[in-house]
Point group: C2
């Protein structure tokens, strides 16, 4: 049975059956890996932090030189159309902007923008820990969320064998970021995360605002020594949220259990998401009420 989240897709603003969301093999997104994307969570029908994700999509598109044909407003309309079409409650949504067809194999004639959704597990009530493996690698273009995951895909079997949730990249001296999540460490009462030279993370930006209310926050490079000696390590992702990291390359972090700061930040993040959802639902309800009241 097809999942309801995979009933419809929005392809260049048009609703199409999910199975029909295809691109030609000549699309520059496929032929030349020329594509950027966003992936985010939907809770109770509300696409979480949609404005921030679409702002990042626009910056990614600019960084690689792809136009965003219908603008951030057009993409937002596509996302809401998909939420409605698939009656999404809890889901993940992907917005993919590809180079599209080209007359010379290089220049985009007209980018393609496709919005799809998929089922994801409900958010955990308590923070479950996970593990990471590391790999020496510098991302080609950290300022864009491009579809280039070549190194992560090559390592997929090794990551799976290690039972890890993701791979953490480093340059031999400093940790940078995970392939699919952002990294922070806790030293005493200080949360440390790196913002320069890594992909801007919507979930980490949200978490930092919450962390500043309860602890010191430093934005700077993290050495591999600091990483392994940290009291706590955590990652954030737009779909997974806050994930405490209990071991890296099979070396335990702290005592190898979920620490108090990760626990508190997990709870604060969950409350923040709930507040965001309530506000969006409140706004939608009052818009509906107001529409009914005025007969629109």
């Amino acid at each position: 049975m097809t999942s309801p989240a995979q009933r419809w897709a929005i392809l260049d603003g048009r609703r199409v059956p999910h199975e029909g969301a295809t691109v030609h093999v000549s699309d520059l997104g496929l032929r030349r890996g020329f594509a950027v994307f966003e992936m985010f969570r939907v809770e109770e029908g509300a696409p979480l932090f949609l404005e921030a994700h679409l702002a990042r999509l626009a910056r990614s598109a600019e960084a690689v030189g792809l136009p965003l044909p219908r603008g951030a407003e057009g993409v937002a309309a596509d996302v809401h159309a998909l939420v409605d079409a698939n009656a999404l409650g809890v889901a993940a949504v992907q917005v993919l902007l590809t180079g599209g067809l080209s007359d010379d194999g290089v220049t985009s004639r007209q980018p393609t923008c496709v919005v799809t959704s998929m089922d994801v597990p409900p958010r955990a009530a308590a923070p479950a820990g996970a593990t990471l493996v590391t790999h020496r690698h510098t991302r080609e273009l950290p300022e864009a969320k491009s579809t280039n995951y070549l190194t992560a895909m090559r390592l997929a079997a090794a990551i799976r064998t290690a039972g890890a949730i993701d791979v953490l990249y480093h340059d031999g001296v400093h940790a940078t970021e995970c392939a699919r999540s952002a990294l922070a460490i806790v030293i005493g009462d200080t949360l440390v995360t790196r913002r320069e030279g890594v992909l801007e993370s919507v979930s980490m930006t949200n978490l930092l605002a919450l962390a500043r209310e309860r602890m010191r926050v430093e934005e700077r490079a993290i050495s591999l020594e600091e990483l392994h000696a940290a009291d706590e390590v955590l990652t954030t992702g737009s779909v997974r949220g806050v994930v405490p990291i209990l071991a890296i390359d099979a070396r335990p972090i702290g005592d190898g259990t979920v620490g108090p700061h990760a626990r508190a930040l997990f709870a604060a993040f969950a409350a923040h998401v709930a507040g965001y959802v309530a506000a969006r639902r409140g706004a939608a309800a009052s818009a509906t009420t107001s529409a009914s009241a005025t007969g629109r």
Copy 2:
């Protein structure tokens, strides 16, 4: 009007109309840039150096961890089927192996192999010169011909504005290779090209064999000083063949005209291609004669 070269494509061994050669947006080739490919020239219906291209495809697939579902023989059969279906004389053929669909967004359930063809200009009778621009960049995985051309695509407008044919990558000290072609320089009577840490080039491998008959050949790193001071510079590509480089970043090479070694190597390469085509056509004709004679 559709070009005859774009009438049919071969998708996982099945002939489909070229327009129907599509993949789903969930294909790992699109979502995660997880794909490798080959592109080569067809002359008089003979796919040039097909065995070498398919051997490299198998090595690329192995380097990224993608299985080659139908084997090199299966892909060769697809290529010949496309040559027949589109009655290809002079054309370029692309074999694209993508990650295909995935249950977990990472693991390939079944790769997709699609073979398409496109028109290309006939090979030039005389060597026309071209220019390059340079960019500091190290390829993520030079041992695989992956579809990751993110940096080259970002630079596409700058390359076009400069009137250059390609971008030459360097690490600040040494030149490596161009985004879409292999590099060699001539110093006196010596041809120098780098083979370590760059994509294995089918056309350069062929050219080196020809060059060894007429000059010294060194396989080693090329410094940027050597590059700019070289007597001649040339690139090779499977579709374009031997291209003399007359200027790099607007600085002329030698006297800025096509040099004698590039001219001789261009002619030798053209004769080598003609010999390859004649041998393949001879083999095909004798196979046909033999088949008729035995009534098969």
